[in-house]
């Protein structure tokens, strides 16, 4: 069971009145960080709720740490740490009270690590939760999840609404968790800069469908914008794997999701510039391309 994939979704479907998540496949292995990226309403939170057992799929299978979900959620949850920005701690209780509470439930609670995190995040155990800022509240939630040393961390928009310094502190903790190759993190985010930096795998979803899920380096290697200058009247050579073209006078910009050096040889002297694309550019181009392909 220790060799089981940390997250395994196959053909998952979940229908609501105004929204359907369809045909979702997703894999996360031990030792990896996966970034889940999608526009608002894409189905990120639904996906996370299916993985954490808060929702049951209408069709398909959801397995987490080798356990079928949601049936075996009690077992799986011992090893899952979950933080969402919608979560609320008890406002009248102190941070320390929550630490004692979590420690009494989870055998894996590491008091030393908890103390280290409290210090690093500059939290005060004696402080009541109602006096915490948004950033401190998120840090307290993360401290409570991290100090249990769960094998799988699931973070729903963990860095949203945080200042740059707090984001930096959080990313440091996330990558620190991965020093241990038996652990993994799934996090959803709108911040493609954070995702590009720390993710090993990236999953794009849009309007309830999977757009693409693969290694980050694959995305960055396969997508390019190629700028050409075509003499007036000359025809563009036929090329496969071009998913976008924009023409402005003599200048043509091609977008490809399967870049290779052969492509440049084929285009020859017309090539003016070749640009790598940021994850954000890849995300937007990818989503627009898939919407077009589906006729939406």
């Amino acid at each position: 069971m220790n060799h089981a994939k940390h997250i395994e979704l196959a053909g998952v479907r979940k229908k609501f009145r105004f929204f359907t998540l369809e045909n979702l496949d997703l894999d996360l292995e031990a030792g990896q960080i996966m970034g889940l990226v999608g526009p608002n309403g894409a189905g990120k939170s639904t996906t996370i709720r299916l993985i954490t057992g808060l929702l049951a799929a209408d069709a398909g299978t959801v397995r987490v740490l080798g356990h079928g979900m949601p049936e075996a959620q009690a077992l799986a949850k011992r090893d899952i740490g979950f933080v969402s920005d919608e979560m609320k701690l008890f406002s009248h209780a102190t941070v320390g009270w929550h630490m004692d509470f979590v420690a009494s439930i989870y055998a894996g609670w590491d008091p030393q690590y908890a103390a280290t995190l409290v210090k690093r995040f500059n939290l005060k155990p004696e402080q009541p939760v109602k006096g915490l800022s948004h950033g401190e509240h998120v840090k307290a939630l993360l401290m409570l999840a991290l100090a249990r040393r769960p094998r799988l961390l699931i973070l729903d928009e963990p860095t949203s609404g945080l200042d740059p310094v707090a984001r930096h502190e959080l990313l440091t903790e996330f990558t620190d968790v991965l020093r241990d190759d038996s652990r993994s993190i799934l996090f959803s985010s709108h911040n493609t800069l954070d995702v590009e930096r720390i993710s090993d795998r990236i999953t794009f979803i849009d309007r309830g469908r999977l757009v693409e899920s693969r290694d980050k380096e694959d995305f960055l290697e396969r997508w390019r914008r190629i700028q050409l200058q075509m003499p007036a009247g000359s025809a563009l050579p036929e090329l496969p794997d071009i998913i976008g073209r924009a023409v402005d006078g003599q200048f043509v910009t091609l977008t490809t999701n399967r870049f290779s050096a052969d492509m440049l040889t084929h285009l020859g002297t017309a090539v003016r510039e070749v640009h790598r694309m940021s994850l954000e550019e890849i995300f937007v181009a990818n989503v627009m391309h898939h919407r077009e392909a589906r006729g939406e």
Binding site: Q32, H168, I198, S199, K216, E217, G268, T269, V271
Partner: protein
Amino acid sequence: MHSGINISQTDARPMYLQIMEQIRQRIAAGDWAAGKELPSIRALAADLRVSVITVKRAYLDLESMGVIVTRQGKGSFVAEGGPAGEIHLAQLDEHLSAAAELARHIGLSPDELAERLRRVRDKQ
């Protein structure tokens, strides 16, 4: 434990290339001698706050260039017998092959390319 390597997100080069470049600089300058053990992939990823796959990619490429060697279960080390000069030569070859490719694209003959190199050098 700080490697002193920096990753910039405004740098147009991808992160794995920035890591490779900075490791090669340290070796070329003699700060990292032959046989020195490199940080483990996971340790360097955590230090730099980047994904493991990015550091893995940098190490694999450095290995295929002969700059470092990886011994299964032991770690990665600066390659033996690769004096700083050879790394500079490897860097030079990379730039030259990029120039050669560009020359091919614009239909320049090898002699014309060599002639242009000579002219560029004389101008310096």
